[in-house]
């Protein structure tokens, strides 16, 4: 995709987005609803027309090609199975439209059915299938064609939580086995993180960051990505640069944090005194006693989740979420002290929201 723009009247749904998907790569387009991810996918599919820009599939510029001529397959959120056709006919439809012979269609349909373990369902109609089975058929209809690109629009979001986790693993495995190129749209950052080779985080029609999940997680490009990727979300606190005893500090109402030399150099690049401090729940430590470099706070509430317990702690006016040992007993309004892991802090320029 090169410099792609889609406008609806005055509304820009996709704003100068460029991204390249390598052959065999699994790319997730992720972002909140209305961010332009589905629009981007439909642009690739050719279901809607570009305003400006260019889209290539392989070597071909496909701007003006019909969806049928783009050599793509798509899996829809609601599966979009043809309700009046059997599973067999659903799987065979894309082949029939391409005028393949009966025998060839039959062997390809059965091959896909075997791969997806739906051979016993071939004579049923979609409404007689469970959600998970419909999902497989939808996937099968994409597989039979062996297209250059698979486009998937939230294919797992209509499944219940348990099935979703299972299908997530299966999809990932299929991608590896088939060495397929996949563009996958989801609003669920966890799906993107777990499945994708690279993820494109979008917001407001803009591509915010396009990188491997590890890098997106470790080095979010801006405050939006920082807050979107990871669960619970990264704590983002607006602070101001200051000096104390010759050292660089970040101050907020009621508390401040002294930065080490490496971090001091990073924040020096800021365009102004406003800095957004980003700290994941796991890069902070909660102490019951005061100590050097610890910031005093007050427990707001505690959420046990089994493996980990999340403590919401007031630092001045800001609330941060810190993961703590579930053995630890904490009460509301209990005074606590928070230590920051200086090696894993993120800093953003408050004026531009960009990473420093």
């Amino acid at each position: 995709m090169r410099d792609v723009v889609k406008r609806y009247g005055a509304v820009t749904a996709v704003n100068h987005v460029s991204l390249t998907v390598a052959d065999g790569e699994f790319v997730a387009l992720v972002g909140p609803s209305g961010c332009g991810k589905t629009t981007s996918l439909n642009l690739i599919a050719g279901l809607i027309e570009l305003t400006t820009g260019e889209i290539f599939i392989g070597e071909r510029q496909v701007n003006d090609l019909d969806p049928k001529d783009r050599d793509i397959a798509m899996v829809f959120q609601n599966y979009a199975l043809y309700p009046n056709k059997t599973v067999y006919q659903n799987l065979g439809f894309p082949l029939r439209m391409r005028r393949l012979g009966k025998a060839e269609i039959d062997s390809k349909v059965r091959e896909a059915a075997r791969l997806l373990d739906i051979t016993h369902l071939l004579d049923r109609r979609p409404r007689e299938l469970s959600g998970g089975q419909q999902q497989r058929v939808a996937l099968g209809r994409a597989l039979v064609r062996d297209p250059q690109v698979f486009l998937m629009d939230e294919p797992l979001s209509n499944l219940d939580a348990k099935l979703r986790v299972q299908m997530r693993a299966e999809l990932k495995r299929f991608h590896q086995d088939l060495n397929a190129t996949v563009v996958y749209v989801t609003h669920d950052q966890l799906e993107a993180m777990t499945m994708a080779d690279r993820m494109a985080v979008m917001s407001g029609g803009d591509l915010q960051q396009y990188d491997t999940p590890e890098r997106v997680f470790a080095e979010p490009a801006n405050t939006f990505v920082a807050g979107f990727v990871g669960s619970p979300a990264m704590n983002l606190i607006e602070m101001r640069l200051g000096q104390e005893n010759g050292r660089v500090t970040l101050g907020a109402e009621g508390w401040s944090l002294t930065l080490d030399d490496a971090n001091a150099r990073r924040v020096a690049a800021a365009s102004g005194p406003g800095i957004v401090l980003g700290a994941r729940h796991s890069s902070m430590e909660l102490h019951a006693e005061p100590g050097p470099d610890l910031v005093p706070g007050r427990v707001y509430t505690v959420e046990p989740t089994g493996d980990l317990t999340y403590a919401h702690v007031y630092l001045g006016q800001a609330v941060v979420v810190v993961s703590v040992d579930p053995q630890l007993r904490l009460g509301a309004d209990q005074p606590v002290w928070i230590g920051f892991d200086q090696n894993r802090l993120h800093f953003f320029d408050a004026a531009t929201q960009q990473r420093l």
Partner: protein, 286 residues
């Protein structure tokens, strides 16, 4: 655990049943009476008190009406043919116009879409007779008075609003992703429509077609106004002539009425499941 299987019958239930039976009685008695009279001899038809079960049933009237050689049959079959032609033509044309129109209203966003859609329905807010004179004057201006074309055009325009409305509901309920999937699977936009969407909307199309056909088949006022050549008359108007000319022949008149209602009844029986589905599905299908 005891299961109470017996349904409770209370006062309201009984009253409801009585009401329904009465209603059924009023609805069916004229039909039954029509059928009984049609197989009576002319003499028996005028007897008082009337016979519920004719002692000498005869299909003489039917034979007469349906044999092209008889004088009455010749005229009657001609009316019937006229009715078929006018109803069928307006129905087929109506479907051909309503299907793409409803599809466009359902799928495309274009300037003036809502205004246009409601103007389509606007026609239905007026009783049909209001347009009788204006349409007659228009038809005269176009030289269409006393042609079947005048009726076909009229029935077409009268049937369209509801057809479009009904079909739009159908298309609204067909997920747009189905067409998108079809287009990706190798269909052109038009193929996606007629290979995927059309079969799914078949019940709706059939229902609207039946509705249009029956409306046209039964229409009286416009046919009476627009046509005057004997050879062009449709059945409802033709039957009216029978009243005038064959007033004494009640069995003949009843037989003609019965024959006229047969196509409608058959259509309904064969296609009623589509019809019911069409009317309910528009509202609740997930």
């Amino acid at each position: 655990m005891s299961v109470r299987a017996r349904r409770r019958i209370d006062g309201w239930g009984i009253a409801g049943w009585i009401f329904l039976i009465l209603l059924l009685f009023f609805a069916t008695l004229p039909m039954v009476w029509m059928l009984i009279t049609s197989i009576k001899t002319q003499f028996a038809a005028l007897q008082y008190p009337p016979e519920w079960f004719p002692r000498y049933p005869t299909i003489e009237q039917y034979v007469r009406l349906l044999s092209p050689q008889s004088e009455v049959g010749y005229v009657f079959l001609r009316y019937m043919l006229n009715s078929f032609w006018v109803s069928l033509a307006s129905t087929v044309l109506g479907v051909l116009v309503a299907v793409p129109a409803a599809y466009a209203f359902s799928r495309f966003r274009f300037p003036g879409r809502n205004a246009l859609f409601f103007s389509v329905l606007f026609r239905n807010m007026f009783p049909a007779v209001v347009f009788l004179m204006p349409l007659f004057i228009m038809m005269r201006a176009f030289g269409l008075v006393n042609t079947h074309a005048s009726l076909i055009i009229t029935y077409l325009t009268f049937g369209l609003p509801l057809s479009i409305w009904l079909l739009k509901g159908f298309y609204d309920n067909i997920p747009v992703e189905l067409e998108q999937a079809a287009r990706i699977d190798g269909c052109t936009r038009f193929q996606a429509f007629y290979l995927v969407v059309m079969p799914l909307s078949a019940p709706g199309i059939i229902a609207t077609a039946i509705y249009a056909f029956i409306t046209a088949w039964n229409e009286y006022v416009y046919a009476l106004t627009f046509l005057n050549s004997e050879a062009l008359l449709t059945l409802p108007v033709g039957l009216q002539r029978f009243f005038a000319e064959y007033a004494t022949n009640w069995p003949g008149l009843m037989a003609a009425s019965f024959i006229m209602s047969v196509p409608v009844v058959i259509m309904f029986l064969v296609l009623q499941k589509y019809f019911v589905r069409a009317l309910t599905e528009g509202a609740v299908k997930a």
